[in-house]
Symmetry: C2
Subunit: 205 residues, 2 copies
DNA sequence: TCAATATGTTAGTGATTACTCACTTACTTA
DNA sequence: TAAGTAAGTGAGTAATCACTAACATATTGA
């Protein structure tokens, strides 16, 4: 048996990816270092060669999610040609990420819950406020170019769309992922955008 | 020291309440029977006099949440005089429950994650679909009485409002509960209701 | 009043946890 | 090619976990 030994960087990425994959079907509290090690194909002790503590592993996992999210957001913004299109693409991108790694919303909703509050919470906040900011940028541009009325503030609109993402994901999880998350997200986002645009005839009391 | 001994029913309620309270600041994975017992003021072994397994305790906690939620929904529906008022009251009621027990959304979002999937998931689903149904009833009545146009389907509207709740809670948690959850929920719900009503002049392409 | 019962404690169980340490072997480079 | 280092192993550790058994005492009802 050739004991393939991998460079640290590669092995660390492998451990992180494996942890994320395992979290799809394993509850957070059951994700032990032993389980991750077994799945990777190394001994449990080897995990600690690459991460000083388990919390450090959690931190790396969260930072990995952040990296993936930011990349997808950039792609989404580049894809859309109008602000409202980009808005829809951003939502679809986020849902795509969650569809690929269903553990993400759980990790995010648990926020500081996974013991390492102080290191993990800021990452959570960065991810969520990062997405919110991207949405906000597009909504502002749509408002400035008159594609949507200035009726609800752009901030409130961003929050409504963030909620739309959250709500769709929750329904998806409770339904045992029985529908296409991205498709449903696009559909309901379109409806919400329609509501915004339909608000044109202002009853600005 | 008079070792006050309480009837089982009362003690069970005390254990459940304590667990819920502890979950406000304790991650799910760290909520041990020992911690709950210490907080209640009994020994760890005494917990198992009242709950055969820890999973049974989780189940009781979830069922308690369900009971509280249903009661609050009933009150909310009785309070509002118009369907859209009742809609807002329902949302405020749910947010009030979450403000009192911030662990609830985490428990719900974790869904099957807390090991006892088979017993816990149905309860989660009942709570969420219960709220959705209540919202749906009010939205339907509002649509039938012409207070909102039939533009988006009532089902989609219910999902949008559910998302609104989820999103507001998430922002609240990530902001370290720095704003008044109920007030903010009412505010943004009012905005969304406004969007719905403003959709009257149908641009049914 | 006194025995039955319900509610509790004390002191354990084995399993699992994150983590350590001494040692080994694969890979790299001088 | 020899030596240094990076990556991994095997065998532990103490702590904590849910849970149990034997025993104790408060409460209650006949």
């Amino acid at each position: 048996m050739s004991r393939m030994r991998k460079p640290a960087e590669e092995r660390q990425a492998e451990i992180i990816e494996t942890a994320l994959q395992l979290l799809t079907h394993t509850p957070v509290e059951k994700l032990s270092t032993a389980l991750v090690a077994k799945e990777v194909g190394i001994t449990q002790a080897a995990i600690f060669r690459h991460f000083p503590t388990k919390d450090a592993l959690w931190q790396a996992v969260l930072e990995d999610i952040e990296r993936r999210a930011v990349n997808l957001w950039n792609d989404a913004v580049a894809k859309g040609t109008s602000p409202l299109e980009r808005l829809a693409e951003l939502i679809a991108a986020q849902l795509g990420l969650i569809a690929a790694y269903p553990a993400i919303p759980t990790l995010i909703f648990n926020a500081g819950q996974i013991s390492a509050e102080d290191t993990l919470r800021p990452i959570h906040r960065r991810i969520m406020s990062g997405l919110r900011h991207r949405l906000l940028v597009e909504i502002r541009e749509a408002a400035q170019t008159g594609q949507i009325p200035p009726a609800p503030s752009t901030e409130d609109c961003a929050d409504l769309f963030l909620g739309l993402v959250q709500g769709t994901v929750l329904r998806w999880k409770l339904s045992d992922r029985s529908f296409d998350l991205i498709r449903e997200g696009r559909r309901i986002a379109t409806i919400q955008i329609g509501l915004l645009r339909g608000h044109k005839a202002g009853d600005d009391k």
